[in-house]
Symmetry: C2
């Protein structure tokens, strides 16, 4: 199956489909704008609430501005490097130009989707709170969920638009250009995830340590100088970071499927089977992924619009679940119709409904992944009950039981993914290329409902903030308080569910990229043989990278939180009036400090993600780099699931106790559970989620350098690349040890 | 390089060497017996001490007896299965017979080395305490260290004797038979590690939770019904388990090196280089590993005998370190002499000193690994200081900082191992087979000082027990108390250092086994290609197994500890006189309970280790099984180092505070550090160390089934094997959820 992939000529049907897909992407954007207007239509007439919300908005925007300003120079430098490196590799100038411009576009698209989503989130939070106060539970749910959906619709819109345009412009070379696009998107996602993750947890832990522990004031108390930063953090981490992350998976899976469809023409078992109709049928397979994506736009839209709460239920989760099921079922029905009308087997002249199986498996994977997350973290399920119960013997047993849960949960997550790949393989036993295409289709299926999934995710920080704003504004209204409390709890659940899903999408995307890497590094025939010692070394080092990365992230939160603690303490000390409500704390100062700290802490993880594959590639070669990728995907996935679920179950075990289990707040059990929750915070909100873009960035960097690694480079050039990488990595490690909290710097 | 390995005929020189090696193994055993007599020469004349020590001895022996009785039926069944399965594969009846008998021998040898070591340990502990009281610090050190050395000498003796006899009897088929031997040894090691690990931590945690936390009585207080069990546990886990574990690595690396030496004759680059002298030189390479092992016997003996403490130093660690350096240097000198006299290159007629490099790298790997462990866990180094310091902000930050340390430490451990493999590869650029041999020689180097290393390890539980016996006997003597306290602390250090080393030996042994697997599964030409989806699935599942295994182990400790808590509480309740020293608690009952619980908890992890490779092999085939092994080695190593070092640093951070840092005992900092220590206990003493035998058992099972997996079996037979494995694994998972601590069973 080695050989150059060439796309067949498009006929009028194909052009028609392409424009239909483009039109759907524009529909997604228009729907997004429509949702924005829907949310902004509500006017808030409560000064206190507006004041708090404005502070959050300012903080969030300041963070994004600063992030952009830090990032942009780095991005421009990388863009120039990409251009010149590829100019020396490819004769056709269109490719280096396309790759570097696509890279920039990727950064902007990913950043843009995150930006818009967050921009609306910080406007929607106060509207959600106000609606809960002045209108009904159901109206409040609508505002918050539809606002959340905006990130989803912009992701679909930008993602589909970008991918389709690049595909139309570059055809069979599209994958190369799209790697640039994806790299930009993933790098922006990495920065937003890591930066946002550090931001949100540093603010959270810092606020709690001084506020709750030292001063004994409740959460979200306006006297705490870190409360605004804490609320800003929820948006930065959960909304912007997540959107940018999923955006990139959405892109990559689409293009991988298209390229694999074209690759069927190189496969003798395919061309023998379909004979003279091969080219025609391959064209259909090429168009099929694009149509699937367009279907996803409409099914997500309908699902989102359907979400409402029946007044008799008083449980928004049911409406959200119904909406998800609706959009999943609509997607499958849509797939079936397309197959019936379009994917007609030229030999039998009947629609080949086997192609319905892989994307449906993908949707099933999404459902099962959410179900697993729910089982391992939900307060009412056995694991969370056990963790809560273990609080009776103190914090140590809480930690151990939670670890046990987290470790176990990784296994089922992996088994489900392995089952998905295996299931997809079995559908087309007659052709290796169709089997590969089938695996790619599961990725498409998994991400079909992206719009809906991101709505569920962003709903989390919006309701969390709405609750916070309500508390801080000091309004007393029992009904609204109950509504917002309930919505906040549901938001935590949806956030946790989508977190598990984001990991699955990242792994599936990474596997697609890994396959492209094999093509780019010309390893299809040679293979990546684990039995070779250098490949084995590659696997070992690749597997260690997520561990080092997690260690960086966890330490960074500790350092940044320490700065917050110092600042909040300073304000309490220098403005003694704060405690008696006579002075206002300086929220902006704390926001600035966390923002700066989060930016600084980005450098180490960023270097690690970019330079570790470069080092392995140029030191040990392409095959070892392949081993490196496999190792990194493996442990990245395991650690991500472990951290997400251990963090989730600790969080919910604490909530379960706060809801009255084992005596509730104030008991020793509660104190023990709080320890678990605090440990879990940087797990589930910093290190864990950052592992998704990490494994994607590592794969993309490898893809980008693959054509260069396999060249016969001068030894001196190779050596200097290796040395530069080593120096960069040494700096990253040194940074991770900087300013650690020891008695010396105290 | 495919082909059948045939050993050249041995001449009188080779027979001479073989008998010299056999003689060295007997010298090791005689030296072991001599050390036993040395230790037993000291008569203890203190009734109280003897009484306590006898209780520990009885408990420890009861545990080993019960372990043996549980294990033996399982072992016999496996032996029969092995015989009949191999009878259907090999025509020559000698092989199935040899493999199944070797399996039984392996169990007995591994169990025997552990048994003898522990039998002496529980006699040496009281003598160490008594000597500290009646004689000098230095005498007390000699007794405890030499007693520890007995496990080391018996491991060398049994190991070398067994391997040499099997090699002489089975020649080129020796690897197959030795897999049986290794499997027996590893399985016994897995049972001793897991069972012992659960035992020791259940007793420890259980004793602490009721004694220290609920009743406020100190550690090792005779009123606590679990104190004896706690002391028994130290022996069972650290002494018997560790010895059995290292025993197996010692075997496997030796035979792998011999086989790889013989394989050079299949390599054209080797036979071209050495021409007609190829066979003669290959014979030398075959004998070389055996001679290295013999050198290790003598260098370990001299090193052990040299250990003493200069009275002016008052620091036993220096003597122990000097002894280690002495034995390492003697080994390298010995290697050099052998190369000078024996490994003469037939072409240049000069000794080929390049062969000195790989075993020296191995010794260096041991030194660097111990140095890394020391850096990441020693109370005076930066990581432990940071963890201690983080106790100021409570238990959550202690956990997080320790996690950060543990996660980071994995990376350096992996880099060092990767560097070792890479370094060994570079020594012989001219021949692939010599490069492979070179990697095997590093493993030999790493395990050269096994005798000394096990002495250091077993010294730990002996001094720990000696300290405990002294406390429990109620003798008041300031000098002796100080001596034993100091020795106990050093024992903790040596235990921690050797723990890191045991992981490195397990990984190197697993890599050797992996290489043999490739031969057995006839994958040398085909390779194990990560780019194939089924291999990738194999990697994913293999990587998940150590996570599931750790989760099993951690949960098991929780369950067993719960039983101990219940029992100790019951005794306090039903015998109210205990607290006023009027009644004696029933130590035996607690010992029985932990023993039974530890045995029961073995089943799940045992099933997982044996059936997961069987499932993958028969469901997905030999290549996928290769991927499975690579995944398991990778995450097994990462998790083992993570758990060992996180556990170690928490332990030492607590000790640092107890020694007066940040205010010492009784402060909030101390309480926070105790939480870290308790979390770390099952990490570093149960789950972490059990991962070593796990990865070896998994590799050995794969090796054993490889010749069957590659056969064209009837589908129905394959299906039934798959179903049986699935059922077994389901039972294992169900067992791990049994009797969990929820409100229902309370």
């Amino acid at each position: 199956m080695e050989g150059k992939i060439v796309l067949p000529q498009f006929g009028s049907l194909e052009w028609g489909i392409l424009f239909f897909v483009l039109a759907s992407s524009i529909v997604a954007l228009i729907y997004g704008i429509f949702l924005v207007r829907y949310v902004l239509r509500t006017n808030v007439d409560d000064k206190k609430m507006l004041e708090v919300s404005l502070a959050i908005e300012e903080g969030a925007m300041a963070y994004l501005r600063r992030q952009f300003n830090t990032m942009i120079w780095f991005i421009i430098a990388l863009m120039v490097i990409l251009f010149f490196v590829y100019k020396s590799v490819y004769t056709d100038i269109r490719l280096p130009l396309g790759i570097s411009i696509a890279f920039l576009m990727g950064v902007f698209a990913s950043y843009g989707a995150g930006f818009v989503g967050m921009w609306l989130s910080v406007k929607a939070n106060v509207r959600t709170a106000y609606t809960a106060l002045t209108k009904s539970f159901s109206d409040s749910l609508k505002i918050s969920f539809r606002a959340g959906a905006v990130s989803g619709m912009f992701t679909l819109g930008f993602g589909l638009l970008g991918a389709t345009i690049i595909f139309m412009a570059f055809r069979e070379e599209a994958m190369k250009v799209l790697v640039g696009f994806g790299f930009g998107a993933a790098l922006a996602a990495l920065f937003m995830r890591v930066g946002g993750g550090i931001y949100t947890k540093a603010a959270d832990v810092g606020a709690d340590l001084v506020g709750k522990v030292e001063k004994g004031i409740p959460e979200d108390d306006p006297r705490n100088a870190a409360t605004i930063a804490d609320n800003v953090g929820d948006n930065v981490g959960d909304c912007a970071g997540m959107t940018a992350d999923v955006f990139e998976s959405y892109e990559v899976t689409l293009v991988a499927a298209i390229i694999l469809a074209a690759a069927t023409l190189l496969d003798p078992s395919f061309t023998q089977k379909y004979g003279q109709n091969s080219e025609m049928f391959a064209l259909k397979l090429i168009m099929f992924p694009l149509i699937l994506r367009a279907i996803g736009v409409f099914s997500s839209m309908i699902g989102i619009w359907s979400v409402r709460m029946k007044e008799e239920e008083q449980d928004p989760m049911r409406g959200i679940t119904r909406g998800y099921i609706l959009s999943a079922i609509l997607s499958i029905i849509g797939f079936a119709i397309v197959i019936y009308l379009y994917l007609v087997d030229p030999i039998t002249n009947a629609p080949d409904f086997r192609f319905l199986i892989p994307p449906s498996i993908g949707i099933l994977l999404a459902v099962v992944t959410m179900w697993l997350t729910d089982y391992f973290t939900h307060p009412d399920k056995k694991p969370a009950t056990e963790v809560s119960y273990s609080s009776k013997t103190g914090p140590a047993t809480v930690i151990l039981t939670g670890m046990g849960v987290g470790l176990e949960s990784t296994v089922w997550a992996i088994v489900v993914i392995a089952g998905t790949i295996g299931g997809a393989l079995l559908v087309f036993p007659e052709s290796l290329s169709l089997a590969a295409y089938s695996i790619a289709l599961t990725g498409l299926g998994l991400l079909t409902t992206t719009g809906y999934i991101l709505a569920m995710d962003t709903y989390g920080p919006i309701t969390d903030n709405a609750h916070g704003i309500f508390e801080m504004s000091g309004v007393k209204d029992q009904k609204a308080s109950r509504v917002l409390d309930r919505m906040d709890a549901i938001g935590n659940t949806t956030k946790a569910l989508t977190k598990g899903l984001a990991i699955a999408t990242a792994v599936i995307a990474a596997i697609s990229l890994f396959r492209s890497f094999i093509d780019e590094a010309e390893l299809f025939l040679k293979g990546i043989q684990i039995n070779l010692p250098d490949v084995f070394i590659g696997i070992l080092i690749g597997g260690a990278v997520p561990f080092l990365f997690s260690s960086f992230a966890i330490k960074a939160v500790g350092r940044a939180a320490f700065l917050v603690v110092e600042e909040v303490r300073r304000q309490f000390r220098e403005k003694p009036g704060i405690m008696e409500w006579k002075e206002k704390p300086d929220y902006g100062k704390t926001v600035d400090i966390v923002t700066a700290a989060a930016q600084k802490e980005l450098i180490g993880p960023g270097i690690l993600a970019i330079f570790s594959p470069i080092l392995v590639g140029f030191l040990l070669g392409a095959q070892a780099l392949g081993g490196f990728l496999a190792g990194a995907i493996l442990t990245g996935q395991l650690l991500a699931v472990f951290m997400a679920n251990a963090g989730g179950v600790w969080d919910n075990a604490k909530k379960k106790i706060e809801d009255g289990f084992l005596g509730g707040k104030g008991t020793d059990s509660h104190k023990a559970a709080v320890v678990g929750d605090t440990v879990g915070d940087p797990f589930k909100d910093t290190a864990g989620p950052s592992l998704n873009p990490l494994i994607k960035v590592i794969n993309l960097v490898s893809l980008l350098i693959a054509p260069i690694v396999i060249l016969e480079l001068p030894v001196l050039l190779k050596l200097s690349i290796v040395i530069v990488s080593l120096v960069a990595l040494t700096i990253a490690v040194a940074l991770s040890k900087r300013g650690a909290i020891t008695e010396e710097n105290k």
